[in-house]
């Protein structure tokens, strides 16, 4: 039994993390394609707003708006299930 508790704890943590990732992915799917790709480019590729602006043709301010929209939706979606 002494070994079972850490295992159970890790499993629960892993499941919670997995569940959270599914919800983040679901939140991403509620975004418009351009907003989603901008968020992913910033978050996963580490592009700056200026670089994204250059690649998409948007203004830097426009990229900032898309990012703000994505972050808001992500938070709302995750909080909805809390």
């Amino acid at each position: 039994m002494d070994d079972a508790e850490p295992f159970a704890y890790d499993t629960i943590t892993h499941l919670e993390a997995r569940d959270r990732l599914v919800r983040i992915e679901a939140a991403m799917m509620t975004l418009k394609p351009l907003t989603r790709e901008i968020f992913l480019a910033c978050r996963l590729d580490g592009y700056s707003y200026a670089e994204i602006a250059q690649r998409t043709g948007l203004s830097v301010r426009g990229v900032e708006k898309q990012m703000s929209r994505a972050i808001k939706k992500l938070g709302r979606h995750l909080r909805a299930d809390d």
Binding site: I24, M28, E37, Y47, Y49, G57, L74, G75
Partner: protein, 320 residues
């Protein structure tokens, strides 16, 4: 009690998202503003911490196909910065064009010509002023002139000076001219001059005109002048100098110097005085700017070997 993020008002989460987004853009100018916001309410800090956690966890999107198949596309044309700049430029030009049309439309205070309503118009010494009457007939006031116009622009009362009426092409206009208490009807197309000094007269410039009062009606041919108070008098042929006054140039054709000087003096406060009767009688030909008396005086001096002497009181004396 520590609040859960889900119990915090939506506007606080939205504000946290905006701050986060601005911070990610590298806008360090918001640091002070953000610190103040975070310290303003404990819930702000909780919302911001929740957002940081969301941001941190979103890195795991790299593990799922959505994150692995990412591809940053070009934005639709209407969203692109260049298109918005171009649209703003076009919109600006359209607005500018509309504003220009509005401001320079006939009747506007910025119109190049003044549309006459019920009003009295006058010109300064040296000024040649253009006025458009309500029926689109154009009136040009010579230097130091004054005219009263009724609301429909059909009744003109020339108080002082001289004016030229140009009727809109293809139309015939009828204007009532009042002088010395009597009214005269002018029916014309083309152009004609009305003058009150030394006597009220009408001159046909382009196209014939009919002049009538209660008893008589006469027709005046182009280049002829008739005194309105005595229509039966012999008609006087007008000179080019008299007809070209609207151009602001004195066009002289073997014109006596005295006549030319009188014409130039009407447009200027600086008066030219001829000290020599012999010089007054000499004749000259040429075109001169009526608003430049000194150049005119120098031209006369050069032509006839005369002297030009500006006086301390402002006049210019011409003598032989």
């Amino acid at each position: 009690m520590i609040e859960r993020p889900s119990h915090i008002p939506k506007h606080m989460h939205d504000a946290a998202a905006r701050y986060w987004s601005r911070q990610q853009s590298g806008d360090h100018g918001i640091d002070h503003e953000l610190t103040q916001w975070l310290e303003g309410d404990q819930r702000h800090r909780i919302a911001f911490e929740a957002l940081k956690r969301d941001w941190h966890d979103s890195e795991r999107l790299i593990e799922v196909p959505l994150g692995q198949s990412r591809k940053l596309p070009r934005a639709p044309l209407y969203m692109r910065h260049s298109a918005q700049v171009a649209f703003a430029g076009i919109a600006g030009l359209v607005l500018l064009g509309a504003a220009t049309v509005w401001f320079v439309r006939p009747g506007s205070s910025l119109s190049p010509v003044t549309v006459a309503r019920a009003a009295s118009f006058s010109s300064e010494v040296g000024e040649i002023r253009h006025i458009t009457l309500a029926d689109r007939t154009e009136l040009t006031l010579d230097t130091n002139s004054q005219v009263s116009v009724n609301p429909k622009g059909r009744n003109l009362q020339l108080e002082v000076g001289q004016g030229r009426v140009r009727v809109r092409p293809g139309q015939r206009t009828q204007i009532m001219l009042k002088s010395a208490g009597a009214a005269y009807r002018i029916s014309a197309h083309g152009k004609f001059d009305i003058t009150v000094k030394p006597a009220a007269s009408v001159t046909a410039i382009v196209g014939p005109l009919r002049l009538s009062d209660e008893k008589r009606q006469i027709e005046i041919s182009p280049g002829e002048r008739v005194a309105v108070e005595d229509m039966d008098e012999a008609r006087q042929n007008v000179t080019a100098l008299e007809m070209e006054w609207t151009s602001g140039m004195a066009v002289l054709q073997a014109t006596p110097v005295s006549t030319a000087v009188n014409a130039i003096n009407r447009y200027n406060r600086t008066q030219i005085l001829i000290d020599s009767p012999e010089l007054e009688r000499k004749r000259m030909t040429g075109a001169f700017d009526v608003r430049d008396p000194l150049s005119f005086a120098r031209a006369v001096a050069k032509l006839f070997g005369a002297t030009v002497k500006p006086a301390p009181s402002g006049e210019v004396h011409l003598g032989l």
